[in-house]
Amino acid sequence: MAEQIATLPYGVGRASARWKLLVAFLAGIAILGWYGWYLEIRRGMIVTGLRNIGPMGGATWGFDVGFVVYWAGVSFAGITMAAVIRIAKLRQLRPIARMAEALTVVALILATFAIMYDLGQPFRGIINLFRYARPQSPFFGTFTLVISGYLFASAVYLYLDGRRDAAICARTPGRLQWFHRLWAAGYRDTPLERERHERAGFWLAVAIVPLLVTANATLGFVFGLQVGRPGWYSALQAPAFVLLAGVSGIGMLIGIAAVVRRTVADGERLSDDVFRWLGNALMFLLLGYLYFMVVELLTNVYTGSEREREVTAALLSGRYAWIYWGSVALFVIPLALLIVRYFRRGGGLATLVASGIMVNLAAIGKRFLIVVPSQTHGTLLPYGTGSYVPTWVEWAEMAGLFAFGALLLALFAKLFPIMPIGERDDA
């Protein structure tokens, strides 16, 4: 326990040329996204493709809102991992815990940016939300629980969970030693402290799970409570949001884990078992989500009000059909691949990563389909069909957020071990 570690594990503190190139590339895209936001702040939201519902024939919520929901959904992954590992005592999944927690924090930061992009008065918004937010509005939950509460809770969890590893890293002299010492905050690996650490982690995980469920359910309520938007008004929205959050989060986590396994020193610690578990979790969540999709589809096709049928028609055979059926395919194909993997008890990492990417593309498509069609089609007063085409600003903002998220994770991996350092005789 007292020996120094000569070099920090998992490439911490060692930035290769390849890594620097990656960071520069990601930073460039992120800056492009923020330039788009700068234009939005200077000229107004007219630089987007959004326009008023009604006589102006547009959609007023588009990419921005869709991606807020998407990122909040992706953040599901970290806390699920934390909860599962601690509460169900699935110790073999420990290696993935840290990157999952980091993913949650990063995804919530991206969701916050996406919200800021969406507000017409973002800076006024920060002050006025803290000052005036009304509990009756579904956005109250989004603001207080999702962005403030859940983000803080996840950051606390990441911090406390990392203290032990920080203490180990702090024994290695180098440029990062001060940072690791700060994080460790005097952790000594005595049995007492370890026990305390485990207990705190357990209860934090228990406390975060209800927060996670309410956070995603609240997002579902943002849409599901609106009687004036056929296609939105449904009791299914809240639970379906939670499930899709799980699907996209685990899918994203698979991708990140695969990158870590390939590029980080000692990445093979992420064993096939871990990936098998992730694949199975994704499979079951997909089955659950597809159940919701089928129920929704059958209900809408069987009957509906005239306006609801307009929206359904636009989704199934009209303007949005390519996105709808494309997303269905991108859910069903991975499900098939995962079922085959399940029964064969293993398979290549490539198909698993491909599944993770596909379900995320499908989730983005599905989020878009939740947000936009009920604004351009099926308006209760006969305004006629509207249209929404995102502009380059919106594409840039979203690409910028993906790049920024990847950048944050890449930076994190160099500052702190991306996997928990070898556990000795786990207590």
């Binding site: 007219i46 008065q121 004036g228």
Partner: protein
């Protein structure tokens, strides 16, 4: 407000009067008049339906506003505090009637003509825009909030206010006053002697989208609600 569909001629003068009184910018129409055509020729029928904000008693837009910028006054008007609005546009997606408009850019850039242009300024005497209404800057109500007028700030939402700046002075909204056939009647529906109450009592009436439970305060007499056969002709296709 009570709207007599048997009288409306679809002239859309109310839309223009609203624009001038409230200084709304381009493509922003708080009052909107549908022009419908129904049936097959030669049995077609053409009719018109003015649609202001409904100022609902169970307003979904008020319920969802995260900061309370959209609120319901005691006198029943649903108002938007443009100092507090953060531009999230939740009220716009929540409204079943589609009455909300958002300031997509600086309102000064959206007033139909370049009022700074010397050729134009010579006709307007230099004021920009020439119809700006000073009453719109003032706060209103015991709550003292700035709720009047369109084109206030970039990035905030606005909608029909029943011309609160006129109502506070005891006048009727601009659309009501400008209607050449008196199709729009404004008044206190709790007072049985008001013109609005009398008109409402005299004939069969309906409200729009009754089934969604918003309890609108705009009633229609004569005619019928639009249905699946009602097709809009001459829709105002305005886009910024």
């Amino acid at each position: 407000m009570v709207i007599d569909l048997d009288r409306c001629t679809g002239c859309r003068g109310c839309m223009e009067a609203c624009k001038i009184e409230n200084n709304t910018p381009q493509a922003t129409f708080w009052m909107y008049v549908f022009r419908f055509e129904e049936g097959e020729y030669p049995g077609t029928k053409v009719w018109f339906m003015p649609r202001p904000c409904m100022h609902c008693d169970n307003a979904p837009c008020v319920k969802v506003c995260p900061v309370g910028a959209r609120y319901k006054r005691e006198d029943g008007i649903v108002a938007t505090d443009w100092d507090r609005c953060i531009g999230c546009r939740y009220c716009e997606v929540a409204c079943p009637y589609g009455v909300n408009t958002f300031n997509w850019t600086h309102p000064e850039e959206q007033y139909y003509l370049d009022w700074q242009d010397p050729g134009v300024a010579s006709t307007t005497g230099g004021s920009v825009p020439p119809w700006s209404n000073p009453d719109l800057e003032l706060p209103y109500g015991p709550e003292e909030r700035r709720i009047a007028g369109g084109g206030r700030n970039k990035g905030v939402i606005e909608k029909c206010t029943f011309c609160v700046q006129r109502v506070e002075k005891g006048l009727d909204p601009a659309c009501v006053v400008s209607c050449p056939v008196k199709a729009l009647v404004f008044g206190d529906l709790d007072d049985p002697d008001s013109a609005a109450s009398k008109l409402l009592a005299s004939r069969h009436s309906f409200t729009l989208l009754e089934e969604v439970g918003t309890e609108p305060r705009v009633h229609y007499v004569g005619g019928h609600p639009p249905h699946s056969e009602s097709k809009q002709v001459e829709a105002v296709e305005a886009r910024v």
